[in-house]
Symmetry: C2
Amino acid sequence: MPYIDAFNHFFPKPFFDRLCETPAGQKDMGKRVRGIPALYDLDIRNQIVDSFGKHDYSQVLCLGMPAIDRLFEPKDAPEMTRIGNDGLAEICAKDPPRYPGWAASLAMNVPEAAVAEVERATKMGANAIQLHTNVDGAPLDEDRFWPIFEAIEKSGKPILMHPIRTREMADYRNEDKSKYEICSVIGWPFETGAALARLVFSGIIDKHPGLKIITHHLGGIIPYFQGRVGHSWDQLGARTSDEDYGAILKRLKKRPYDYFKDFYGDTALAGARGPTLCGLDFFGADHVLFASDCPFDPEKGTMYIRLTIEVIESLGLSPADKEKICFRNAEKLFGLKAR
Amino acid sequence: MPYIDAFNHFFPKPFFDRLCETPAGQKDMGKRVRGIPALYDLDIRNQIVDSFGKHDYSQVLCLGMPAIDRLFEPKDAPEMTRIGNDGLAEICAKDPPRYPGWAASLAMNVPEAAVAEVERATKMGANAIQLHTNVDGAPLDEDRFWPIFEAIEKSGKPILMHPIRTREMADYRNEDKSKYEICSVIGWPFETGAALARLVFSGIIDKHPGLKIITHHLGGIIPYFQGRVGHSWDQLGARTSDEDYGAILKRLKKRPYDYFKDFYGDTALAGARGPTLCGLDFFGADHVLFASDCPFDPEKGTMYIRLTIEVIESLGLSPADKEKICFRNAEKLFGLKAR
């Protein structure tokens, strides 16, 4: 059974070198990144991919965290984006068996450059567009971002949606906002849900029904709270004193819950079986893609691939459903062929 | 099969009358509360309970949202707490078949009063203590709250942990923080996870291992993200540049993941079956209690009871596990008898 890993991270050398030169990059490139060689060393990454050869395993690559628009000012972000995307395209062009596809990043803090990059990357063969759940703290439904969603819909490419902490998102207090890493461990999945809600209730999805959004971590908080997503948002406005949200429900083309069911999710849940069943039950086999989040695991690259394959193999899926999750949905959405 | 509903909300008349007189109460007592008569009208509430008579259904009562310490200044909060707790005690004393137990609220913004109320309420027969996940924005692990956890452990009563939005918890930006009700629908379950993490990593659980914490909404975000809770927090500090969290891992008496497994969860997931299976798989049948979150559903009191009973009946549980979830865990933790 071929496994296409839909969502994992790599910094191509030209991008990583430039990143390490900048103050922004240096601040964040400490132990977090340097301690994970598979994030920037292609030989090490190749070894990891090859170690899963018996599974015909391959990876769709995208850049690592943080988002370019968090690291770089508008004057630098578009250029860094092109360097990153060119680097990913080159790796994939040279080695399609290991790396059959890549997702382009965008300089969301320069929306007109982001629109242009969607078009340039698509022409270069990008298989997806990676977006983060907010743009340096700003929600994705701000007016300035709408043309980007229009361009992505036009490109026909799916969005790989990655969470990132908002600047204001405190676990409790602003001076203490990353206490115990609460925000990255469990705040990110909330962020994913919040971003999806913004796309739904703002009307972006209604305006661009062709968008296909693949959420990292199997939908974030949404599938486990599908009951609240359904029944609480059916009552949008009923518990709010100072805003009239009833008009939003009337404007939407379908029930809020149904928009969330129409998103896609990847299996990057750090090898947890029960949650994978829960998310699969929510999205259905046509809307779930295998992914590992390589190389962000305690073994620095191999552990989540291995555990996630074990989970998939343990689910007792029908052959047809298993093929969809392991590679057919990826082939279809990304427009590529498994090895 | 008797069903004890472990977590649902009611305002006794003396408390509700006082609440409605105050500016704080009036602000929040608009359509949100007035539109749900079963939240404050005992006759209507009795009818709802009786409508599930064939299930030998009964309710453990606690006050509704928001928390007293969000609604009242320190000068008023302790008195309002006593009025609320006296009201719940009276309802239960008069009608044990319908209301076999109650959870005491605390004025957390007056910690010494909270300690005294734990003792007073326990003497009055309180079956649990209801805490919210933050105190008007302050995390539960601030020094001033530690004596309260000591008093609760001493009382032997379990904590019913309810989420509440932090003042600073923006879904994106502070000026826009309740946009689309994102915070109450999916931010609350994140809050639950954040509060649990604070209790674990601060050392409160190690200091008071007798605490039994029953989380609303089946653990909030924790069970679906058990993979991250495990493997990401095993690496606490590895991705943080400016703080040394390694010392916390060394200080803890067990693996972070194991603390989270030791909490309890209730089944208040708005009638969603897949997530209930996921949460039950995480906590185990000894640590899950039936609860509905009555009366906060689109039917204003009946819907989540009915749907949640349907979910439990559909799970194919062993008779022993079903009894634990439906009433035996509640009997044991709360110290009461099912009808």
